[in-house]
Symmetry: D2
Subunit: 135 residues, 4 copies
């Protein structure tokens, strides 16, 4: 974590690619989710503990993504994750997928909502998380 930005490395394996020879467009969403998980971890929160102790999960409510460049098998990339807005129940992230030379190959806006694990109804983000985000 560097200020409010988390940088997280991802390697492109066969599982991520398709017969077009490039990274399949749904795989980018997996990379971005790994990075959001690591963003929460960098703040000190493990999601399996949040599920057990707070019964909260953070599903994606809305996502916009631009695929700017084809990405190839075996490339080493970095995901940049920055929290851009925060409300009682919602967090928005700007996430980009970057080449080693800094070229942006994909860029996304991702809105996640704090919901109760059992009902999937929105509920306030736990105070402990808000405190850490605002620290």
């Amino acid at each position: 974590m560097n200020g409010r930005e988390l940088l997280w490395p991802v390697r492109v394996y066969y599982e991520d690619t398709d017969a077009g020879g490039v990274v399949y467009h749904a795989s980018h969403l997996k990379y971005f989710e790994r990075a959001r998980t690591e963003w929460l971890r960098a703040l000190g929160f493990e999601q399996d503990r949040l599920i057990r102790e707070e019964r909260v999960v953070f599903p994606v409510r809305r996502l916009e993504i631009d695929y700017l460049k084809p990405v190839r098998f075996n490339e080493q990339l970095t995901v940049s994750t920055v929290m851009t807005t925060l409300s009682t129940t919602r967090i928005t992230f700007t996430q980009t997928l970057l080449r080693p030379d800094g070229e942006t190959v994909a860029a996304a806006q991702v809105l996640v909502v704090c919901v109760d694990m059992d009902t999937f109804r929105p509920r306030p983000i736990p105070e402990s998380i808000l405190a850490e985000i605002n620290a």
Copy 2:
């Protein structure tokens, strides 16, 4: 194909779900892509033939998606696919994921670009496809 709308059934299997108990947010993109493949097939075009004979593929350039309702394991759903705009090199689709009672559980705008398979540079959509779309 019903007018300009294609309805395509999808079943939720274990592969599509995650430990939150619902369909993983990247799986919706797979459902939508299956339906776009079937939309092209309903027009008479097989993508493996398009690759071999025309060297074209249709990667996603931009995608916006709203996840409106959690979807559960074993649900039977329908993807609605409608072409909304068409230019020389690009097609935009409105795609929705529907429950049997008509409830929309996810809605997306998907922009695909016709590119040369080898260079991934945009190129005009083949005439034969345009003719069929405009038929």
Copy 3:
């Protein structure tokens, strides 16, 4: 269902393939699991109901698979599923992935175990399922 064999169609979409130009080796397992789900459904059992009412799931305990032929994007295949052995807590299936001309492109032996959803400990297969299998 035809005697003890269920035949289930699968289409190869982009999501199933990799940059080698063929179906990714983990995708075969997805095809086989869809077919086992449909085998149970053909016997009259919906797995979401089994989870809710009986608290049982059927995870794979052991799997052997031979990949005999490369499978390409857009192929239309059939999964053949036959139950080969049955005990109090376990079922073994022979599953094959077939081309339209009958050529076997992959063949697997899959052992699933009936477990309690909460503890993942083996437990007897529900009587209602055994009765239907033996009918």
Copy 4:
């Protein structure tokens, strides 16, 4: 790389799990393939270069896997990869998925074949790779 064993870390993310609350059985194959890719890289070989320069890929020909313990979301695991047999065209690996305390949660035997990228016919493993393996 430690003698002939490569240890490679994997984290369980949402993408790897299913609605049963555990890692989906096809995800283990992805973990094992990442580790085989890293095994080749540790020997000095990048698979994208092998494809471009030698036109070879190493698809899985046969795989046996025992799923010994359910694995949960967010676990940190290690893949152990050991080459067990080597012939002109084939390599067999023993791969295990391990918890931090050394518990084996899955164990596999994986046979890969060196094939020509274009024909998918077996061909001899490149000399440079054999030399490095035997070094």
